[in-house]
Amino acid sequence: MAGITEGVIAPDLVERTLATALARGGDFAEVFAEDRQNVTARLDDGRIEELVSGRSRGAGIRVVRGESTGFAHTADLSEAGLRAAAEAAAAASTEAGDPVRVAALSPGPTPAPTATVLPDTVAKDAKVALLMQADVAAREQGGAIRQVSASYADGRRRVLVANSDGVFAEDDQVRTRFMVSCVAEGDTGLHTGTEAPGRTVGFELFDEIEPEAVARVAADRALTLLRARPAPSGRLPVVLKRGAGGVLFHEACGHGLEADLVRRDASVFRGKVGEMVASPLVTVIDDGTMGREWGTFAIDDEGTPARRNVLIEDGVLTEYMWDLVRARAEGRPSSGNGRRETYRHLPMVRMTNTYLQTGGTDPDDIIAGTEYGLYCVALGGGQVNTATGDFVFGVTEAYLIEHGEITEPVRAAQLIGNGSETLRLVDAVGNDFDTWAGTCGKDGQGVPVSSGQPTLRVAELTVGGTAA
């Protein structure tokens, strides 16, 4: 017991804290303790600009009574500090009641380590050396590359979750990411290209990815934009290259399938379980157990083991995503989607690794079958209004498709559409697949997620380009 977070907080202290939290009554209490370490190194203009390291540890305590949640957190993990936070959480949840007994804590299995090479066992010079390699490789892509910046980031997050239902679970989450951004200069001005792979692994990330390869992708993206012409505008067929468009489905349908938003009537998918909401070619899955993807973990931030959840199957809405509070209120199990940014935040329903399942069409045939349209190779961020389903997406690398062939690159533009409409307009799904790592910022809380998809075509999306 308490192998991973040993020394952070003792199990008997956890039990006493839960008892304090429920001393004024309540249906449920939880202690979430977290110890995190982060290192970031940045290179700019060929020089290591800074190395930043940090550490924070603390605990968040919540007390749930009916539909009401009281929450307090503390960086003081002493008995007194935890008691004060537990009392504050108890006082914050509404009217008092009778004391409630806490179930005996039953430790879950200790998860397998996510990292084979823990970041803090790697010398700092080895981390900064990767940045120098990326810088050289990016500049070798051509004289038009004016600036190169790169960053290396690792984070280790050890968590313990215990609750009054007897859950006692731990996880040791290690993530590593490498980012290169290049600016190219030409007759058309300055253009930026970025590439930023990340995985839920330690320093062994660099057995899989080469800093030089990341740098070349970023540099080529910037160089391509030099010869790009303004993007078209209006409604067009849009082909999304494998990996590039998963984030669109994260925004366009994933958020609307989060049970907290469904409850608020802030989702176009409310009341539609069992209905056809997408093209029959579309199967969407959220899977927190997926390989070592960026959104993978052993347990979510409420102690529920990660799961693979089918959300849409052959176009039919099968299930929403749930956290513990929503699941308890509706008498069903959590789907392992309760996540929070840090111990200072309350958990809510969040995605993990969300992807559209591979189909049967050769990606080349999808392009060949498109008379005129946009081929998107990289998307930037996006945003959705879950209540209406309206979304926007920045396209950062895209090409025209003319007479079934990829022709000229076009400049950055926004894609705009409606989630449920876009799901219905998917008319070709490829037999390839890739993923993309990002940060989801729901309600201002950032958590690592990935999204994935095969090459696919949406029959029509509005492209907000500047071409006349």
């Binding site: 190194a41 203009d45 020089r47 290591i48 600009e49 800074e50 930043v52 390291s53 940090g54 550490r55 924070s56 540890r57 009916g66 539909e67 009401s68 949640t69 929450f71 307090a72 960086a75 504050a88 914050a92 949840s93 509404t94 900064v128 600036q147 600016v183 001005g189 300055l190 253009h191 930026t192 993007a231 505008s233 209006g234 608020r264 009537d265 802030a266 176009v268 200072r344 309350l346 998307l379 930037g380 961020g381 996006g382 945003q383 209540a387 209406t388 309206d390 979304f391 926007v392 997406f393 920045g394 400049r411 950055a412 533009a413 926004q414 705009i416 409606n418 492209v463 907000g464 380009g465």
Partner: protein
């Protein structure tokens, strides 16, 4: 309280060894957040957070470390870690902390940004305000079928910075706000509207205005549809103008300038906007929610003119970018918190308001698209190329009056082009949270993509 933080920062800075510059930043905040739903408290969170960030510069090498704690042993570790980190950075001749002379070159303004009475507001009043906000929103108009969220939040933040060169400052501020999102219409015809109110203490909040805004903004979009692609003048709501100013602030950032990553590179002195366009960053104005007496390196803030009568005057600078560019600091160091070293940024962007009311602007333009909200600001704007493409919703303006509601269109241009196309700036200046003031803005023509 701030005194003890300043003492702690001084004690860290005092541990600098010969040849070393050390700067410590410490902060503490107390926050309350209340969310209500369907007449009941859904979440009530109280929190106190504190942390320290230490910057060490040795031989031009910069190291930074932080911790989410003010415990003595943790603080000692942070200093040691920052020192170690400095060994791995490349020397940079421009790295260095501000000097006492830098700090004395200008007098700090006197601002009262703290309200003691927020500290004594009972939690029941905070809950009551959120509940009233939800009720007022839900009952104002029959077409509103629900309230997606109603929220009250406040924060009391204290911070101090001290350096081994003797520069120091401390500050404290309170802020509180309430916000609400209304749902009007049914199913896929649902429209949402957002309203908020902000102040430095609860008594300054106006939940009625937040409710009215949220309701009006949702119901007036009912039945909205895309319009055909075309070019039209665009009138921006003050809330949207605030966001657009944020793009300018990021492009007029000294860090972007010294790294060559801004559309305004080398354009100081040029006419970059129409002559009516004057943009300041003014953290010395106590009406601004981003007001501050000192920047994040302890230098006094000042009112900086960025674009004056259409002419680009200067970029915002901190000590590093000010030295590297030879322009000097403009007192514009900012931090995202104790976990990040000081960067450069705006705090209180504000346009010089014009003479016309929003109604007069609409009447004069005749036909236009009025943009109530935009989406994809982050993904749709490129501070380097200046390309801009945003999702938009709002209302058509026909004969100077609001006409059909519009959604699912994009508006596109480039930032330099928009600045040249600014046709009018309203008289309706309003300070908003989010680092800028809002005002109605008319841009002569933009490309609209729809059906």
């Amino acid at each position: 309280m701030s005194e003890s933080l300043l003492d702690l920062a001084r004690s860290i800075a005092a541990r600098a060894e010969p040849g070393e510059q050390v700067e410590a930043y410490v902060s503490r905040s107390r926050d309350t957040d209340v969310k209500v739903f369907e007449g009941a408290v859904e979440e009530f969170a109280v929190a106190e957070s504190a942390g320290v960030g230490v910057r060490v510069i040795v031989d031009g090498r910069l190291g930074y470390a932080w911790a989410g704690s003010l415990d003595a042993d943790v603080v000692a570790d942070v200093l040691g870690e920052a020192r170690d980190n400095a060994r791995f950075a490349a020397p940079d001749e421009w790295n260095g902390l501000p000097t006492v002379d830098d700090a004395r070159a200008i007098d700090a303004v006197d601002l009262e940004l703290w309200r003691d009475d927020l500290m004594s507001v009972p939690t029941t009043d905070k809950v009551a305000l959120a509940l009233e906000l939800e009720r007022a929103t839900a009952t104002r108009d029959a077409r509103v079928r629900g309230v997606e969220s109603a929220h009250y939040g406040d924060a009391a933040v204290e911070s101090a910075v001290a350096s081994s060169l003797g520069v120091e400052s401390s500050a404290r501020r309170t802020i509180c706000s309430c916000s609400v999102s209304a749902l009007a219409g049914e199913g896929e015809g649902t429209r949402t509207g957002y309203g908020f109110s902000a102040g430095r203490t609860l008594a300054e909040l106006e939940p009625e205005i937040a409710a009215t805004d949220a309701v009006d903004r949702s119901v007036r979009l009912l039945g909205a549809r895309p319009i055909p692609s075309q070019r039209l003048p665009v009138v921006f709501d003050p809330l949207v103008t605030r966001s657009l100013l944020g793009i300018l602030g990021a492009a007029l950032n000294g860090e972007a300038m010294v790294k060559g990553r801004t559309m305004f590179l080398g354009r100081e002195g040029e006419e970059v906007a129409t002559p009516e366009f004057t943009l300041y960053d003014d953290p010395t104005n106590d009406l601004a929610f981003g007001a501050s007496t000192h920047d994040s390196e302890g230098l006094p803030t000042r009112k900086n003119a960025l674009i004056l009568d259409g002419q680009l005057l200067q970029f915002l600078q901190n000590t590093y970018t000010g030295r590297r560019s030879g322009k000097g600091s403009t007192g514009s160091a900012v931090r995202g918190g104790y976990a990040t070293p000081p960067g450069v940024g705006s705090r209180a962007l504000v346009l010089l308001p014009g003479e016309h009311t929003p109604e007069e602007i609409l009447a004069a333009v005749g036909d236009a698209l009025y943009v109530q909200s935009v989406s994809g600001l982050h993904s749709g704007t490129n501070p380097v190329s200046g390309d801009l493409s945003l999702g938009a919703e709002g209302l058509l303006v026909r004969g100077g009056e609001f006409a059909e509601p519009v959604r699912e269109v994009t508006i596109a241009s480039t930032v330099p082009r928009m600045l040249q196309d600014v046709a009018d700036i309203g008289s309706d200046l309003v300070w908003l949270p989010g680092g800028a003031a809002g005002v109605t803005l008319l841009v002569g023509e933009m490309a609209i993509s729809g059906v």
